[in-house]
Amino acid sequence: MMETALKALFILLYATFVGFMFMGIIRIVTARIHRRVGPPIYQPILDTIKLLSKKSNITHGVIYDFGVLYALGATILAIMFIPLGNIGVLRAYGDLILITFLLEIPMLGIMFAAMSSGNPYAGIGAQRALLTMLAIQVPLGFAIVALAEFYGTFSTYEIVMAQQVSGWSIAHLPLLLAAIAYDLVLQAMFGKEPFDIMIAPGEISLGPMVEFGGKHMGILQIQHAIALFAETLFFSNIFLGGAVVTTFASPVLNTIASLAILLVKQIAVLLVATFMGAIFPRFTIDQAAKFYWKWPTIIAALGAILASL
């Protein structure tokens, strides 16, 4: 019991910290692409502290508060299910479908909170967010189906272990296709161009986030950090082989090594998304839906069909 609690605490702290670093990395890399110096890597942490230390906050009702809390709570829940190297609290229950759902429901909390403000921009943001989700769901679903059918199991942990034997998922053609589709989906999950339709600062002024300020936004920053960590970790686990190091005698060393390997993979995933985001304009929502229902869906469905043969 105590050990589980400690592990959970470790995962939570590690995910938060690394998630914030990821946010910083995105900002620095973007700045470098823009030929700027960019902020220090710990800038997101400062932002969050500042937001949480605001001396006045507003609310639009109970749901406005609860939605935000729910978003963070659900993200913390999600991170517990994803295997993190050798550490896992609930990884036995780390079911592919469950995690896919858990990675989506924080957004539902944010949407609830945003919509309860009654701001039309938030309404449009919610509309766009949901349609984006609807659009990505098809390729995402096929990618997950492909994985489950290829490995014959739904357990993320078992998929990671299987990859230790048979090589990374992306080494197999069906799963390579699934990974490509999933990576395109990830672009929308991160809210990066060309699929940052949901927040679109130049169009709808951050959409759902427009009414959040002070501690609500601070909590959402933490949520964003953890979600960033969780999404990259999930991708690294299911497609990039995860990390299970057993070479060292000491379990601590093994853990550190596997965390390091995972970190490298996660950063790779992150950088791909950042680079893609830097060079593309933004789609409109109907174009994005049509795009996702066309190429990524075809690729992922092909992957799924190949995997099921």
Binding site: I124, P194, G202, E203, S205, T284
Partner: protein, 391 residues
């Protein structure tokens, strides 16, 4: 809080009957505190993500220039009027100076003409770069915008060397320019900058003008046809995108333009993509003009009219009369109508900003039926400059 009943009663007294707002649509206030608009506001009546009705709410930048100009001596007005058009402040300077020159009957010396032309072209290039930045920020490809703003900085530095000001130059004055070119080094630097920006155009093509997604975003958005554009008084690149080859530099030549070789690009589609492409071609043409000017070199001679009246500028009296002068700005036909009654202050100055024709009625009509995501794109593709309208 006034109740609805009171409001209706009030409106009745004004001869109108208010009905409760339709529930089928909703109102979206777009600007002024918004990233897509400068200090300009649209009140949109929306259905889903489509605009049903748009009303332009202008006047946030109104400072009453035309009234203020009547209180200031002739030369001081330069420092005032250039604030009408912030991205290219040399244009109002030039038109006002040209109109005053005409009333005064001054023949501006060649060197001053060369400098004025160069400054106007530099202003055009910097305004186009600024516009690229605006468009790419609206489309979400921030990299292109950041780069464009960075290249513009080079021109800002050159302006600073030439005029002493970064943004507001107060350089073109009636009778010539305020001071001479700093030296050959400046010309060399200008040449380098022109080459540099020319080399970087390819990047913008890749990121913006030839990008698949950007094309999808711009194609078929905000389509104007030739007849509509002419009836609405649209000028500049927006008009040329509909197939009318109207460029003040060709239609009503001024300064050195008759001697320069450049093309007036024309496209027929009339949509946002055509407008964007026209601007991109014009940027290339402007760089070409600058190259020609540099090759030509500044003619020798005085940089302003040798007139004793210019010695004591505050006491400058302009003879009674009126004149209209206009130049081709990046946004369109920028004109000034100056009336003098023979005193040391203008009697009436009217500035005709190009946005007044495409920033109010045209936007209101083009936005109907557009998606919300297209609203900033249409605004930016028209290159709407609110201070033109508000003055």
């Amino acid at each position: 809080m006034v109740s609805q009943q009171e409001l209706i009663r009030e409106a009745r007294e004004n001869g109108m009957e208010l009905l409760p707002l339709e529930k089928d649509t909703y109102e979206l206030f777009f600007g002024p505190q918004h990233m897509a608009t400068e200090n300009y506001s649209l009140i949109l009546k929306m259905d889903g993500h489509r605009v049903v009705k748009a009303i332009a709410n202008v006047g946030f930048l109104h400072r009453g220039f035309e009234k203020l100009a009547e209180y200031r001596p002739w030369h001081t007005n330069i420092a005032l009027l250039l604030r009408i058009c912030v991205p290219e402040p040399d244009v109002p300077e030039a038109i006002y100076s040209m109109a005053v020159d005409e009333i005064m009957g001054w023949e501006v010396p060649d060197r001053a003409q060369w400098i004025r032309t160069t400054v106007l072209e530099m202003a055009r290039v910097s305004a186009y770069l600024f516009w690229i930045m605006g468009l790419s920020f609206k489309l979400g490809v921030y990299t292109a915008g950041q780069w464009a703003a960075a290249y513009r900085e080079r021109l800002m530095a050159l302006f600073e060397q030439l005029t002493g000001g970064r943004v507001y130059h107060i350089y073109t004055i009636p009778g010539g320019v305020r001071r001479d070119i700093p030296g050959d080094r400046w010309l060399r630097e200008l040449k380098d900058t022109v080459e540099y920006i020319k080399a970087k155009l390819k990047d913008f093509d890749n990121l913006l003008f030839e990008n698949y997604i950007a094309h999808r975003r711009l194609e078929g958005i905000g389509v104007m046809d030739k007849k509509f554009a002419l009836a609405e008084g649209v000028t500049g690149p927006n008009l040329r995108a509909t197939g009318v080859a109207y460029d003040v530099r060709r239609a009503d030549p001024y300064l050195l333009y008759p001697e320069l070789d450049f093309e007036v690009p024309v496209l027929k589609e009339g949509d946002a993509l055509a407008r964007a492409m026209i601007r991109r071609f014009e940027l290339e043409q402007d760089l070409y003009i600058l190259e020609q000017l540099l090759e030509m070199g500044p003619p020798s001679g005085p940089y302003k009219v040798q007139d004793p009246r210019l010695k004591n500028l505050p006491r400058l009296k302009v003879p009674a009369g009126d004149a209209f002068a206009h130049v081709e700005a990046t946004k369109g036909d920028f004109g000034a109508y100056v009336v003098s009654d023979g005193k040391n202050k203008p009697y009436r100055v009217q500035i005709r900003g190009p946005s007044i024709s495409h920033g109010v009625r045209v936007i209101e009509q083009l936005l109907v039926g557009a998606r919300l995501a297209d609203v900033p794109v249409i605004l930016m593709s028209l290159d709407n400059c609110p201070p033109d309208i508000d003055r």
